[in-house]
Symmetry: C2
Subunit: 323 residues, 2 copies
């Protein structure tokens, strides 16, 4: 894709002159204007941030939208984002959407007023049009929100496969998946990878229970496990849900990992604190944040993006709960 | 202290007129100006936010500075702050200082540029002058930074007393306090309350180990507990440190609570996940945030503050680790 330098070169003028023409600011004589317009047409050039930023004072602020602060997964990811933002001499404006589209729209208004330079989006309820209307670089983190917006995710489908394989190797046959909400694409991909793998084996009895990521979900977990004493394998949507499974099973007098194997998701700090310690699917959480921020700065600096949608590898971390 | 309404009343003019005089904007005839100036002098009135805000467009943004995102205690507290800010129709601009004075100063510059309406400060390295120069309402949260800046804390000294009493009731005689850094006033107050209580009893053997709130502190904990097999009571600076004590003691083959009692601090989610579950000193974390935000809005709206420094009560939550 042609950039402003290509236009300047072809028209044999300076980049500043091209910028003045594009932004219709400052004096440019009619002949030069004509040359620039011709070059723009010839190269099919679309004016971009760089061009506009020649006339726009940068705020040096990157906006970040996350669902809430009460999630170690997001907090660790944003720490990775912040680290890179700082290295570039920018600051962050962190906003919590609380999954409310209305709140997001209010923040977008603020971002627009304050002329932020870019946006990292980990939102669950994106109104894509509102974001693209902002006309600033955007990177989606932990979810794909549009084919035109670069995204950094981890390989959730593979995460489901790894968990399924581990439970099968442990000879689990009565398996339950406590999965996340269907509105979340990462939860759907994990579930698909998990079920597609298990369904290749007809001897397995597989349950799926959909949970919200709220403290109240422990009641659903307890009720299910009490009603299903035959369960010998659990794949949980998060480490917290897996930790809640261990708590419930202790109350029900069942021995983990002797009678029942459990695999969590994320590899957050709770894994090492649990007794038994918790096996889990590890996402490269901090790296996801770092790469998202690096991708955003490429957009801001008008550098090429090698890959629009980056999916980082996950891995199984074996601890006591699957031994 | 006189406010703009008092001046208006004494000068027998409208508040808007007083504001015009103070800000030297808009037409006011010389006679009226004289009356206003006389009233200002008589009442020893200092122009404040309200007066200036009549001419200043509010950004409806509250700035928040916290040390980092990796602390459930701060995250829960800020959730309380956010809730109240939302109720008032304002938005938040959350910034992490990472205990860097330089970063804080950069954020202050942003706050100043963006004309935020108020600031909640949970910072560890406050350069008070920089903050007060901002000339906006400020509330300190979880620490007292100046006698002139309202603060919301919890009763850390009492937290130390409650922990000391509980360990003595359990007949602990070889006690260690894993305390937080001396640069943090809450950590100092807890330690003072704890030690003053224990020092009233000469039969006790008391150790104090100062720890940073970092994952690496687990090595110091392990080394101390290995070198001191006589320890039978622990007071930890946070629930995470207490949880790390439980992990270390398991590795050392020591039985909690049979041989050794442990009390954490904060009452975060990890308490219920531990095995044994963790006794702790509970701070009213969310309330602290809510009250800080409510106090800030009183300042913004020029309403009276009943109490400059509010210290909320703490309580002991008894779980398995002290049974």
């Amino acid at each position: 894709m042609a950039n402003i330098k290509d236009v300047a070169k072809l028209a044999n003028v300076s980049v500043a002159t091209v910028s003045r023409v594009i932004n219709n600011k400052g004096y440019v004589n009619e002949h030069t204007k004509e040359l620039v317009m011709q070059a723009i047409k010839e190269l099919n050039y679309v004016p971009n941030e760089i061009a506009r930023s020649l006339y726009r004072k940068s705020s040096k602020i990157i906006g970040i939208i996350i669902p809430d602060l009460k999630n170690e997964f997001f907090n660790d990811m944003i720490s990775g984002v912040e680290e890179v933002i700082l290295q570039h001499g920018y600051k962050t404006m962190l906003c919590t959407s609380r999954e409310s589209l209305e709140r997001e729209k209010e923040y977008l208004q603020i971002f627009s007023t304050h002329k932020i330079d870019g946006l990292i989006l980990c939102s669950n309820s994106p109104d894509i049009a509102s974001y693209t209307n902002l006309d600033i670089p955007i990177v989606a983190l932990d979810r794909i929100i549009s084919k035109d917006i670069p995204s950094i995710t981890s390989d959730n489908y593979m995460g489901g496969i790894l968990a399924a394989n581990r439970l099968m190797v442990a000879n689990c046959v009565n398996i339950v998946q406590f999965r996340g909400p269907k509105t979340l694409s990462p939860a759907n991909e994990r579930s698909n990878g998990f079920l597609h793998t298990l369904h290749q084996h007809s001897n397995l009895n597989v349950h799926t229970v959909e949970l919200e990521f709220t403290p109240e979900s422990i009641t659903d977990i307890h009720n299910f496990l009490q009603a299903h004493p035959e369960i010998d394998g659990i794949f949980a949507a998060s480490d917290i849900i897996a930790a809640n499974c261990i708590r419930c099973l202790k109350k029900l007098g069942r021995d983990v990992p002797q009678n029942i194997k459990i695999i969590g998701y994320d590899n957050t700090s709770i894994c090492e604190f649990m007794d038994p310690t918790l096996s889990t699917i590890a996402q490269p959480i901090v790296s996801m944040g770092e790469i998202a921020a690096e991708t955003l700065f490429k957009l801001i600096n008008n550098e090429p993006i090698e890959q629009m949608h980056i999916s980082l590898p996950v891995r199984l971390i074996e601890r006591e709960s699957t031994k």
